[in-house]
């Protein structure tokens, strides 16, 4: 569904500018005139940046790479919502036809204690990598694997594992959460492996280590706001957080018994 209006539209932007991690940032207003409705949101920013450079003003820094919704590099909080108004859509897949002519668009970085701003709209999401490093994998020494079809997996289980594995690690769940929790991300990673036979040997330790790291990195706890699910471009379900809770409980009990 697109907003009605002409095929070239004018916008007012309010953009967060911040020189570097140590600087104090603030909003700056820009005009974005004659933006084609078929342009993507990032292409709109490209157009604005070209005009800024022509005026010898430094362009707005924002993260992006694949521009097809899969690499997870793009971010932005657009009018208060991470990745903007469309469900199941990354910022790079958001098109200007969804923004009515004359609208004021407020653009901010993903905000969370664990995501310090690097410059303008770019934040450091390295904490998510560090959570993966303590357990986001199945140990499988290269070359030691058995024939792939020796591990049959029921289709519904494989499909659910894939639903979880679809997470693009963009961090929108954190930016949307009032507690800046990364539980949806963590739940997706833990569930993907917990649902598969290959993930069983490391199942108990994985959830304990990853959760501990999550807390250590300064992410908050889940209070069931479900804001994360609402903004997730990969449509990761909050039901995986209940799965995470069960995995955690199971691991604690197992440890206690041992």
């Amino acid at each position: 569904m697109s907003a009605p209006g002409p095929s070239k539209r004018n916008y007012k932007l309010r953009v967060w500018r911040q020189k570097d991690a140590g600087a104090t940032g603030g909003f700056v207003n820009y005009d974005a005139p004659a933006i084609p409705t078929d342009a993507s949101f990032l292409e709109m920013l490209d157009i604005v940046n070209e005009t800024l450079i022509a005026r010898n003003e430094e362009p707005i820094a924002f993260d992006h790479d694949c521009r097809e919704g899969i690499c997870g590099m793009c971010s932005l909080v657009i009018n208060g919502t991470p990745h903007g108004p469309n469900r199941a859509t990354t910022t790079c897949q958001l098109y200007m036809r969804h923004f009515p002519d004359g609208q004021t668009i407020v653009i901010e970085p993903f905000r969370a204690r664990a995501f310090p701003v690097i410059r303008d709209l770019i934040v450091n999401r390295g904490a998510l990598d560090r959570i993966q490093q303590v357990g986001g994998f199945v140990t499988a020494r290269t070359g030691s694997a058995q024939d792939a079809n020796n591990i049959p997996i029921a289709k519904p289980d494989a499909d659910r594992a894939m639903d979880a594995a679809a997470c693009i690690q963009c961090g929108a769940c954190v930016a949307a959460c009032p507690n800046a929790s990364a539980m949806l991300f963590l739940a997706a990673r833990v569930s993907h492996f917990a649902l598969l036979p290959q993930g069983q040997p490391e199942r108990t330790q994985r959830v304990l280590d990853m959760l501990a790291k999550h807390d250590e990195e300064g992410f908050g706890n889940c209070r069931n706001h479900y804001e994360c699910e609402a903004v997730c471009p990969a449509e990761i379900s909050v039901l995986f957080i209940t799965k995470l809770n069960r995995e955690y409980l199971r691991a604690e009990v197992k440890k206690a018994v041992e």
């Binding site: 020189k19 084609p36 342009a39 993507s40 990032l42 292409e43 490209d46 070209e50 022509a54 010898n56 003003e57 430094e58 362009p59 820094a61 993260d63 992006h64 790479d65 694949c66 521009r67 097809e68 899969i70 690499c71 997870g72 590099m73 469309n86 199941a88 897949q93 958001l94 098109y95 690097i118 410059r119 770019i122 390295g126 990598d129 993966q132 490093q133 986001g136 199945v138 290269t142 070359g143 030691s144 694997a145 058995q146 792939a148 079809n149 049959p152 997996i153 289709k155 494989a158 594992a161 894939m162 594995a165 679809a166 693009i168 690690q169 993907h192 492996f193 598969l196 290959q198 993930g199």
Partner: protein
């Protein structure tokens, strides 16, 4: 002067070469492995799988990527699948058939021994990925599912919905994460390689820029591995990520590594057409769609009727008509050219006339909308987001776009460049796809190189390097750092009137027109005249604001575009020199009356490897003759 290159292909029968070579390759004993430091640039399928496997073997590894996380490398965007000669479908597949299909698909311009090895290790890749928990698609019985891809008549493609590259990369990234945590790999995200350092004729390190602080520093190692992807963005618009660039491989070329077959570029037939000049990239619609979609254009020229109002007998299903035995699954180069021909005849669709239809109406009638949604739902959603059209109701509009580059740095059978100590993996090397890559073969090659080939061959080089360590304070490093500093200062000092993107776009239009889907001598000569002018304008009139000592995206882009402006010339030289049509390289002078490619095996059954000549002279050509002992050199036919 032309030299002949030796690829060091082992002797023995084709099916035994790899096993014999592995046996004869040098091993490094476990205590010595930790004395060797390996520098890996790039963290896609090839880089991440190599980094993880080499670290697991006991080597010390440093891995660099320009993205903020190694998991974001552009391998992640691969949609359709990965080939393997498993023959799980019992439909007649074998190592030999995958080998033959790949050699034929590459229009007999790849190295047989490399391709055979690729087909041999393909099955182990699937085993490895499943063991890591990659959630490949499965049948109800719990076994792995397959689908077919262009250029093959068997179903050998494994897939994870439309996100196969993402899932395979997550597998390799997971393995890499484990090694980072174990301190066997030191990971440097947001770090870009800006030069290669050569000491006494060996690649011994790199100079990098920290993209956050701007700090320029040196890293020394016992060998350097480039897994930095392809150069498709020389055309500005491509399906590559915005950051994909030629800088690492081009800098290596400047330092003595030969660049092989740069004119082999793959134009993918099924991408979303261009809509306007502000457009920043093109989006691929997976080739897997051609399993169920039918490609057509109106029979009449300039037929502006909506597709639903064009009756069946006024539609030209041109792939089915021209290539009845492969139909809509004709290989990419052939399908792309056929689309271009249709549009050149004035039968293209959409506002620009640069598009054809990919129609699912028959498949939806046959299988039901739910089956189509299950198979391709995410692709249909993506199509709707971009075009605002519902492909369940209207046929998709598609047009070819630059997607992959078969050319790359020249490597021998060990994946080592002519420059000793430099290894090159994945799309960054040239070896396995000849003049055209088949669908679902890029993921296979990236992982083959990283998991299985390099870890077995790297010992052959390292065994000769004991006690030959260099330190990052050697004069060669200082000089390279100084060069990088100077270049950066120069870019920031120009303060001209045009943006970096302006020059990149100009270059892209020129390359697409003169060296894109079809090339001819006149056009290539024009491009060779225009590129140096554009380069000169760039160095006089580009405007790069800000400073080095901060995150500066204009500066990053400027460095990359500066290298594209040099590399473009090399691509055109190669295209001009190769006076034949083969695979993705279509020279208009060499075609049959009905527009099929005409190869010239007498003169061009070889690899063209270009050496950089200092002080700006034309590059010097070296040749590696291609000998075909298993596959009979034949005119490629998909009719």
């Amino acid at each position: 002067m032309t030299g002949i290159l030796d690829a060091h292909i082992p002797g023995g029968p084709m099916e035994k070469k790899w096993d014999l070579h592995k046996f004869e390759s040098k091993l490094i004993n476990p205590a010595n492995k930790r004395k060797f430091e390996i520098i890996i640039v790039g963290s896609g399928l090839a880089g991440a799988s190599a980094a993880a496997t080499l670290a697991e073997l006991g080597f010390r590894v440093k891995c660099f990527c320009y993205q903020d996380s190694p998991r974001r490398a552009h391998s992640i965007a691969a949609q359709g699948g990965i080939n393997a000669a498993k023959n799980y479908q019992n439909d007649g597949d074998s190592v030999f058939r995958l080998f033959y299909d790949t050699v034929k698909g590459g229009d007999f311009r790849s190295r047989e021994a490399n391709v055979y090895r690729l087909a041999q290790v393909s099955a182990a890749i699937i085993d490895q990925c499943v063991a890591q928990g990659v959630p490949f698609a499965r049948e109800y019985g719990g076994l792995l599912a397959n689908r077919s891809f262009g250029g093959a008549q068997v179903s050998r493609t494994f897939y994870a919905r439309g996100q196969t590259g993402q899932q395979l990369l997550l597998g390799a990234y997971g393995a890499l994460c484990k090694q980072i945590e174990a301190r066997n790999v030191q990971m440097f995200p947001r770090t870009e390689m800006l030069d290669l350092v050569v000491v006494d004729g060996h690649a011994k390190g790199i100079v990098v820029r920290d993209m956050v602080s701007g700090k320029i520093s040196s890293h020394a190692g016992d060998t350097v591995v480039l897994a930095t992807g392809g150069y498709g963005n020389v055309f500005y618009l491509s399906t590559n990520a915005k950051g994909c660039n030629v800088t690492a491989t081009y800098r290596a070329y400047r330092k003595g590594a030969f660049f092989a077959n740069p004119c082999y570029t793959q134009i993918h037939p099924t991408c979303i057409p261009v809509t306007g000049e502000y457009q920043s990239k093109l989006t691929l619609m997976s080739e897997s769609l051609r399993n169920d979609g039918r490609v057509w254009a109106p029979k009449k020229q300039h037929d502006k009727r909506p597709p639903g109002q064009i009756p069946e007998d006024e539609r030209d299903y041109y792939l089915e008509r021209k290539y009845p035995s492969f139909g809509n699954l004709a290989p990419r180069d052939i399908s792309s050219r056929a689309a271009k021909q249709v549009c050149d005849e004035g039968r293209g669709v959409g506002d620009t006339g640069l598009g054809v239809y990919l129609d699912f109406a028959d498949a939806i009638t046959r299988l039901g909308v739910e089956t189509i949604r299950e198979r391709y739902g995410n692709l249909f959603d993506m199509y709707e987001k971009i075009t605002n059209e519902d492909a369940y109701k209207l046929p998709m509009r598609i047009f070819p776009a630059v997607h992959y580059t078969m050319g790359g740095l020249w490597v021998d059978y060990n994946l080592m460049s002519n420059l000793p100590g430099l290894h090159v993996l994945g799309e960054a090397n040239f070896s396995d796809h000849g003049a055209n890559r088949l669908g679902a073969s890029a993921l296979m090659q990236g992982l083959a190189d990283g998991y299985f080939v390099l870890p077995a061959t790297i010992g052959n080089y390292l065994a000769t390097q004991a006690g030959k360590k260099v330190k990052p304070d050697a004069p060669e490093f200082k000089q390279a750092e100084e060069d990088v500093h100077n270049r950066t200062r120069r870019l920031l000092g120009i303060r001209g009137k045009k943006t970096v993107d302006h020059f990149h776009r100009e270059l892209g239009i020129l390359m697409w027109e003169k060296a894109g889907m079809a090339r001819n001598e006149t056009g290539l000569r024009e491009a060779l005249k225009r590129i140096p002018q554009l380069r000169e304008e760039f160095w006089e009139n580009v405007n790069v604001l800000g400073e080095n000592e901060n995150l500066n995206q204009s500066l990053e882009k400027a460095g990359r575009v500066a290298d594209f402006l040099n590399f473009a010339e090399l691509l055109c030289y190669d295209a001009l020199n190769r006076r034949e049509s083969c695979g993705g390289h279509f020279r208009e002078e060499f075609q049959t009356p009905d527009g099929e490619a005409v190869r010239n095996d007498e003169e061009f059954a070889n690899v063209s490897a270009w050496e950089c000549v200092p002080n700006g002279g034309p590059p010097q050509l070296h040749k590696e003759p291609l000998e075909f002992e298993c596959c009979h050199l034949a005119t490629r036919s998909y009719k």
